[in-house]
């Protein structure tokens, strides 16, 4: 037999073995041995872990979205000074060949006149981040 040298390992080994015996018991034996005790709340405990994990994922997703929004807001780019000029720029970009790969975006802005100025500006920022504006200016020169 192998010789264990650490008492803490021996103690842990005993406890682990006891845990193992619980899994080897039949349902009937479990009931006989622990039936008088209050019901185990394991399901609730595991559910709370599931909930906490789900919330942490949601929190991380929200954080990522906020970071992305912040990145768009703080992205430095030269923007036309008036809302009208910005709207015109967006209109021109969407009408250009460059917008071909942005089908969803062009569909969204089909009725450009009804889009608020703030959305026009943020869309221009997004297009700039994507490099579309730069290409537009280059091809428009």
């Amino acid at each position: 037999m192998a010789k264990s040298t650490k008492h803490s390992e021996e103690y842990r080994s005993i406890m682990n073995s006891l845990a193992e015996t619980v899994f080897e018991m039949t349902d009937k034996e479990i009931l006989e041995e622990y039936g008088a005790e209050p019901p185990a709340k394991t399901k609730d405990i595991l559910r709370s872990a599931a909930k906490a994990y789900g919330q942490s994922k949601l929190h991380a997703a929200k954080l990522k979205r906020e970071q992305a929004i912040q990145e768009i807001r703080s992205h430095p780019f030269e923007i036309p000074s008036t809302p009208e000029e910005r709207r015109l720029l967006l209109e021109n970009v969407l009408a250009s060949q460059l917008a071909k790969g942005l089908g969803e975006l062009t569909a969204q802005f089909r009725e450009l006149g009804s889009i608020p100025d703030s959305d026009v500006e943020s869309t221009l920022r997004q297009l700039d981040i994507l490099g579309v504006l730069q290409k537009f200016f280059e091809t428009s020169k």
Binding site: S8, E10, R12, V22, A40, L46, A49
Partner: protein, 198 residues
């Protein structure tokens, strides 16, 4: 306990699979996991750092959820090969081992970090593959084991089983090595569980 079919290559559970497995837990399996978590925490002693059995179960479950979302981290439950309760128990054991290693290294590191002539800090422990446990933890564990064995001074079967468990032997091995019948082994285990509560 629910059985898993062992069908070829492992199929890693999704979050939905884990959700479903939790909902399908029988009252008996709930009890098994509760007791196992308590025994594991008890076995860790101070290395558990005050974590409760409930927190331990939650941590193991979270590790499984993380594994369901990411193939590189967390614990990956092969749902077609291992029953949920068994895998959760394996996860607890694995986490316990990590806690143990981390605590031993952390504490001993703080005592064995030296400064070189070049002014760099170097951990002597990092060059030691198997760190020894803390002396006071060793004394506590030694005393705990002694007290458990003392409880079974007049019960040779239980005493032998405990001695074998100390050495890491498993049930079938113990039965064979000491010529016990399965029923005698199980009855002795029951007596040990009765006196050594989780």
């Amino acid at each position: 306990m629910a059985k898993s079919k062992n069908t070829g290559s492992p199929v890693i559970a999704t979050r939905a699979d884990i959700d479903a497995a939790i909902e399908e837990l029988s009252p008996e399996d709930e009890r098994r996991l509760e007791r196992a978590a308590r025994y594991h925490i008890k076995g860790l002693g101070r290395f558990a750092r005050g974590r409760s059995a409930d927190e331990f179960l939650q941590e193991a479950t979270t590790a499984m959820y993380i594994g369901a979302d990411d193939a590189k981290v967390g614990r990956h439950w092969p749902k077609n090969q291992v029953p949920f309760v068994r895998f959760l128990d394996q996860t607890m054991r694995s986490i316990a081992s990590h806690w143990l290693e981390a605590t031993e290294r952390e504490v001993l590191d703080s005592e064995t970090v030296v400064e070189t002539e070049e002014g760099e800090t170097v951990s002597l422990l990092s060059q030691t593959p198997h760190p020894t446990p803390l002396p006071d933890q060793e004394l506590i564990a030694k005393e705990a084991v002694r007290k458990i064995l003392e409880l079974f001074d007049g019960d040779s079967e239980a005493w032998v089983i405990l001695e074998a468990w100390k050495l890491g032997m498993k049930g079938p091995e113990i039965i064979e090595e000491y010529g016990l019948s399965k029923s005698a082994f199980e009855a002795a285990c029951k007596r040990v569980r009765y006196k050594v509560k989780a």
